[in-house]
């Protein structure tokens, strides 16, 4: 004996299976996409990367993310303490070292080997060969890219630690204006702080802004007994030699006429 109530329920339940399944899948999609979207909105540019990865790994991952970064030579300004000479690996050798600052255009995701000479005598070594890896670019207005290069500043403290055998890693980031430090940054100087022990500096920099470059300073030296050490210089990737941006010309105040309009008050009688 069949129960009419059971049969009607079965038909009703059967008719609800498909829409319930679709609703469940849609809810899962919304939850997953929402969590991914919220994670993306938290500006975690390098959520799963670490600065201790080999040079070029973080930048290569950034290139895969897409955007107008492929083939773009990002202006970079390399500066060192007074008296030190700066050079770069080029065409199997090294460029003529210069004093002061060195301006170059570098590709993203490619490690560049920099040569620092004439270190103080109290250091363990008179030379140092750090690497510079550009992991993101800036978007300066047209014609102003060279005026706002990414500053790579080497200080004596980092070089002293590096020549002692330690690995110093610096992650340079663009400060978020909403979280900017109210301190004044002097020309040629760069605000910085330590990430702390057991902390990933890339992750710390990602929280404070947008990382754009990773600088690694160690005590490794090239082995040029049998010719140029291309492995040490990562194959001498291409880069652009840039000239220092010209200083802004002073524009004297024009001899403008005083305010004489009906919409604004006239010049007060002296």
């Amino acid at each position: 004996m069949s129960l009419p109530f059971r049969n009607s329920n079965r038909r009703h339940v059967r008719s609800l299976r498909l829409p319930l399944a679709v609703a469940l899948v849609a809810t899962l999609l919304n939850t997953t996409g929402g969590s991914l979207a919220s994670a993306q909105q938290r500006a975690a540019h390098y959520q799963f990367a670490a600065s201790q990865q080999p040079p070029g790994a973080v930048g290569a991952a950034r290139l895969q993310a897409g955007g107008p970064v492929q083939g773009y030579f990002q202006p970079v300004e390399i500066s060192a303490p007074k008296g030190m000479l700066i050079g770069m690996a080029a065409q199997g050798g090294w460029t003529e070292p210069v004093d002061g600052s060195f301006h170059a255009g570098m590709l993203l995701g490619v490690p560049y080997r920099v040569q620092l000479q004439n270190l103080p005598e109290e250091f363990n070594s008179r030379e140092c060969y750090p690497t510079v890896e550009i992991i993101d670019r800036t978007y300066a207005p047209q014609g102003m890219a060279r005026r706002f290069p990414i500053p790579v500043v080497f200080n004596e403290d980092d070089l002293r630690l590096a020549t002692k055998g330690m690995l110093v890693t610096r992650v340079i980031y663009v400060e978020d204006p909403q979280q900017a430090i109210p301190g004044v940054q002097a020309p040629g100087d760069q605000l910085w702080h330590d990430a702390g022990s057991n902390a990933n500096p890339l992750e710390v920099a990602d929280r404070l802004g947008r990382p754009v470059a990773i600088v690694r300073i160690g005590a490794r030296m090239p082995d040029e007994r049998q010719g140029p050490d291309l492995q040490f210089t990562y194959g001498c990737p291409p880069w652009q030699r840039l000239s220092a941006p010209a200083e802004a010309q002073f524009v004297p105040a024009p001899e403008a006429a005083p305010i004489q309009s009906a919409r604004a008050p006239r010049a007060a009688a002296q």
């Binding site: 009703h12 008719s15 829409p19 319930l20 679709v22 609703a23 849609a26 999609l29 919304n30 997953t32 996409g33 929402g34 955007g67 107008p68 773009y72 030579f73 080029a90 590709l107 800036t138 978007y139 300066a140 102003m144 706002f148 500053p151 403290d157 980092d158 630690l161 055998g165 330690m166 690995l167 110093v168 610096r170 663009v174 400060e175 978020d176 204006p177 900017a180 004044v184 940054q185 760069q190 702080h193 330590d194 990430a195 702390g196 500096p201 710390v204 404070l208 947008r210 001498c236 291409p238 652009q240 030699r241 024009p254 403008a256 305010i259 309009s261 009906a262 919409r263 604004a264 008050p265």
Partner: protein, 414 residues
């Protein structure tokens, strides 16, 4: 009797599930790109057709030298080619936009722009600014620039200015020092070798006096008007700005009719469009608002427009228009930036008790004694939540219809 495949409830659930799934598609990274693009295309407005490529710019004396690239190979990595918008003329390879027909973005770069490279000052972001009957200003956030005034009928209105953008990125760095250590222990008599493997790294961190920046959790209190007259700078309660202390000459960046005489002229459209275009490029949400008085104009609808022109059909009460400009579009840390705020009564009745408020961002430090006003005003400063200052001008005299004034101040980019 044939039963329907889906009941009414089932059809409604199916429709709800499909709608939820469509809304989740753009946010879901796991979905195929084609599907995401399909949804994105349908939700975005029509794109501006690409314009013809720009003429090759003349070679400059400072040509770059690419090292490591064989001769004859095209040099990659040059600055992105400038593709002018439809209707732009090109002078010397540099496009000169003369009419912001629609929201324009450089080719190949999708928005939103990285706003972390720009300083914003102006407008009214986040919660709108309001003035209580007790003359207390609420909702004045960092980077806001507003003016509140009283009309004849007793209303207190608030008018935000446009947003002035200055390209001024600042770079900082985070350091970590790692020292790898390892040891090896050999057990001699039994000839068993037990190498010690590296367990962990010894990290040395030097003590520095730098403080680690903590992410702000938000504004927890609003500054109130009552402290403006008490919070003072170096013992000055308030500074009376007189008209004769106002610099009567205009700077080059103020060479706009809307700043000089408070009226819009056709000759300034090109320069204003350039500033408007920069504003669009640097922020998709804000835009410059320009009002043309007593001129019939078309109403532009849409969310992302550079300027809005409103038609005035009937006499209105006193209404204040406030416009803000910066002296330079880009600045480096240590540079000075001059800001000029122009206010005009574009209504048909006088307005009074005009107060102009400007809350500076952290990166802008007000230069003492640089405030000016073309009309007699009381100037005060107060500290804001961004370790900078809130600037306040209280215009003494009411403003008749058609009258206006200027206030200026200088800031140093930190």
């Amino acid at each position: 009797m044939r039963t329907p495949l889906l009941s009414t409830l089932g059809r409604r659930l199916l429709a709800l599930g499909m709608l939820t799934g469509l809304l989740a598609l753009p946010a879901c990274k796991a979905m195929p790109k084609a599907v995401v693009d399909l949804v994105a295309v349908r939700t975005q407005p029509a794109e501006v057709p690409p314009a013809p490529p720009a003429a090759e710019p003349p070679k400059s004396a400072n040509s770059v030298q690419v090292l490591g690239v064989p001769k004859g190979k095209p040099v990659v990595g040059q600055p992105l080619p400038v593709v002018p918008r439809a209707g732009c003329e090109i002078q010397g390879g540099i496009p000169v936009p003369y009419l912001a027909a629609s929201a324009w973005q450089p080719p190949g770069i999708k928005g939103p722009w990285p706003q972390d490279e720009f300083l914003h000052d102006g407008g009214d972001a986040y919660e709108p600014v309001g003035v209580s009957p007790e003359w207390r200003v609420q909702g004045l956030n960092v980077e806001d620039t507003v003016a509140h005034y009283d009309t004849i009928d007793g209303r207190t209105l608030v008018e935000p200015s446009n947003c002035a953008y200055v390209y001024a990125p600042r770079f900082s760095s985070v350091r970590s020092v790692v020292n790898a250590s390892s040891s090896e222990f050999v057990d001699g008599p039994t000839k068993i070798r037990k190498p010690e493997r590296v367990v962990n790294y010894e990290e040395r961190t030097r003590v520095v006096t730098r403080t680690e920046q903590l992410q702000p959790i938000g504004q927890v209190a609003n500054t109130k008007l009552t402290v403006y007259r008490r919070d003072q700078q170096s013992g000055v309660a308030s500074t009376a700005l007189l008209a004769h202390s106002f610099q009567q000459t205009f700077a080059p960046f103020e060479d706009l009719a809307v700043i000089r005489i408070g009226a819009m002229q056709s000759a300034d459209k090109a320069r204003l469009a350039e500033r408007v275009e920069s504003a669009i490029i640097w922020s998709k949400d804000d835009g410059v608002k320009v009002f043309i008085e007593k001129q019939s104009a078309k109403v532009v609808t849409g969310d992302k427009r550079a300027q809005a022109i409103y038609a005035v059909h009937e006499p209105v009460d006193g209404r204040l228009r406030i416009c803000k400009i910066a002296s330079t579009p880009a600045a480096q840390p240590g540079d000075f930036v001059d800001f000029t705020i122009r206010y005009d009564n574009v209504g048909d009745s006088p307005v009074g008790n005009i107060v102009i408020l400007d809350s500076l961002t952290t990166r802008l430090a007000y230069e003492p004694d640089s405030a000016q006003s073309s009309r007699k005003a009381h100037f005060t400063t107060a500290h804001n939540a961004a370790e900078s200052l809130e600037l306040r001008w209280e215009i003494d005299e009411p403003l008749a219809p058609g009258d206006g004034g200027l206030v200026r101040f200088r800031c140093k980019v930190r």
